[in-house]
């Protein structure tokens, strides 16, 4: 037989390339963000090396109004997107869970919205939201919902809403597919029993479907929050963070600090804050998975 070492080492060789890649290009950058957040690193001293300046970057960024606005916008954006994506995704999943001709085709064709690169979706929706010739204003005025065309992306109180609507559209089919997959794993006999007992549709939803789907729905929710939190491309294309910071979100703020101001230290602060928030959500996610497995 093989010796212990001879047996083990070749097996680890399978992992080696991926582990090296993850350590160098993924773990190291994450740690680097944290280190840099305590340094005065800018484009000027990039080659010579920066000095540690303690918590200076933190006190400067965390007290900045723009940081508070970005954090608020990120939260509004994430939660309103997820709420509507999951609700509409759920309704669509219920509809597409019925048996009718070509249903598999309809299930997957909607994913086109999710697959399209965000740059394209962003410029496409900028066109749809156009003040003078945009389709949305046309529909809303002809239905008499609004009297005057709205400058969706050009004014402070509607810009974030317009980006949110765009992202809801992108995320609906993704949520629909995941919820549909979860629904198909539900036992059928419970429903038959409920129908025999004369339960109404709403009753079956609240008392059977929702409790049964709860573990998977929670996972979908957390994953959705994490992916929505990343928002960057849509903001850059549709509004550039404006007007007057109305659509600045944390990842976009971090980008501006690093690649517009070239103040890497301050950008590191934003990255670290994002990391802390995501780690909190991730531990919640892992806790829920553990709980689900224990059941």
């Amino acid at each position: 037989m093989y010796g212990q070492l001879r047996n083990r080492v070749p097996k680890y060789l399978f992992l080696l390339p991926a582990v090296l890649f993850v350590l160098t290009f993924m773990i190291y950058p994450i740690i680097y963000n944290i280190i840099v957040s305590f340094q005065n690193l800018t484009l000027m001293n990039l080659q010579v090396g920066a000095e540690f300046i303690g918590l200076d970057n933190y006190s400067k960024i965390l007290q900045n109004d723009k940081f508070a606005i970005s954090l608020r916008n990120t939260l509004i954006y994430t939660f309103s997107c997820i709420f509507f994506q999951v609700v509409i995704g759920y309704l669509l999943a219920v509809f597409l869970n019925q048996d009718f001709p070509f249903r598999n085709f309809f299930r997957s064709i909607m994913l086109l919205a999710w697959m399209t690169p965000l740059v394209i979706t962003g410029s496409l929706f900028t066109w749809l939201f156009d003040v003078d010739y945009g389709v949305f204003n046309f529909i809303l005025t002809s239905l008499n919902i609004i009297q005057e065309p709205i400058n969706w992306l050009g004014q402070k109180n509607t810009a974030l809403l317009a980006v949110i609507i765009t992202n809801i559209w992108i995320g609906i089919p993704f949520n629909m597919i995941l919820i549909l997959a979860a629904m198909q794993s539900l036992p059928k006999d419970v429903y038959e029993a409920a129908t025999v007992d004369g339960a109404r549709r709403i009753q079956t939803f609240w008392h059977i479907t929702l409790p049964l789907l709860k573990p998977q729905l929670l996972v979908i929710l957390v994953l959705g929050i994490i992916y929505t939190f990343k928002v960057f491309d849509l903001i850059l294309i549709m509004t550039g963070g404006g007007p007057v910071n109305a659509t600045t979100v944390l990842p976009f703020y971090g980008y501006e600090l690093a690649f517009v101001n070239f103040n890497f230290g301050e950008s590191g602060v934003v990255a670290t804050v994002i990391l802390v928030i995501l780690l909190a959500i991730a531990s919640l996610y892992l806790y829920m998975i553990k709980k689900e497995e224990a059941q």
């Binding site: 390339p17 963000n33 740059v119 010739y133």
Partner: protein
């Protein structure tokens, strides 16, 4: 078989057509805007069904002015490079995680799940600083590495369950026939993995094709910039020339739509597999 459907099911089909058409209207609008003459683009009320179809915007942007072509080439190089690189790293790793009892295997999976959650833009600054020290900013390599950070965790996470589903007796038989773990992996396992390889390649390609973050930050030179940055430039240059902008967008979306239509099944199974732990 086909005439077994009830009238109610045909009614559902009609509903499905209406819902899907309404939902995908933006994509229809992108394509029709690109083939309308400019005066129809700005007609009020909007012209839902184009009266005249003209391919002027395509002729202008692909044949008369060929400045878009290098961007398309770069996108292909970066997306294909990312797909291959991701596959080379992910295949043996996912196999080992599924097959061998290794210390730290669960820890590594956990790290992958967590890194998957970090926004790409947060990776961009450290990578930019790292690459600028090695003079790699503005290279295809930098962009491929950047995109692989997005694609790799997803690839490993969806491949591992696939390897778990292959009966392990296969390799044992191969070992008896004189294979070691490397030759049995290459001769026995790899030929079985075609479907999952396709899924992983499709996703990595599409991720990289649509990437803006690394294109924006790791490539400042137009020579290596992909199509997503090309569109960015057109937005600045064309402003509100929506027919041109929508034509360029349709060109950029075309590979996505084609790949999607061809590999639909793989994409749907990949999404569902990726959300399981």
């Amino acid at each position: 078989m086909n005439n077994k459907y009830t009238p109610k099911q045909y009614f559902l089909l009609v509903c499905a057509i209406i819902i899907t058409a309404a939902f995908l209207f933006p994509i229809y609008w992108m394509i029709t805007t690109s083939v309308k003459p400019i005066e129809d683009v700005f007609s009020s009320p909007p012209m839902i069904i184009p009266e005249t179809i003209r391919f002027d915007a395509y002729i202008d942007n692909l044949i008369k002015d060929q400045s878009l072509l290098p961007y398309i080439r770069n996108s292909f190089i970066i997306a294909a490079g990312t797909a291959i690189f991701t596959l080379v790293l992910a295949l043996p790793c996912a196999y080992a995680l599924a097959r061998f009892r290794l210390a730290w295997a669960n820890g590594f999976l956990l790290i992958l799940l967590v890194t998957q959650m970090i926004p790409g833009i947060m990776m961009a600054m450290p990578l930019y600083i790292m690459f600028s020290k090695f003079d790699l900013v503005n290279s295809y390599l930098a962009l491929i590495v950047g995109n692989t950070t997005t694609a790799l965790p997803f690839a490993i996470v969806i491949m591992r369950p696939f390897f778990l589903s292959i009966p392990s007796g296969l390799e044992e038989a191969a070992v008896i026939d004189g294979c070691n773990i490397f030759t049995s992996f290459i001769r026995i396992i790899l030929p079985l993995t075609k479907p999952i390889i396709l899924t992983v390649c499709t996703f990595s390609f599409l991720f990289a094709w649509g990437d803006l973050i690394f294109a924006l930050t790791l490539a400042t030179d137009e020579k290596v910039r992909p199509l997503t940055m090309g569109i960015q430039k057109f937005i600045g240059q064309y402003g509100t020339q929506w027919d041109n902008l929508m034509a360029v967008s349709t060109i950029a979306a075309a590979p996505i739509i084609i790949i999607f239509l061809v590999f639909q099944k793989h994409i749907v199974s990949g999404i569902t597999a990726g959300s399981e732990k």
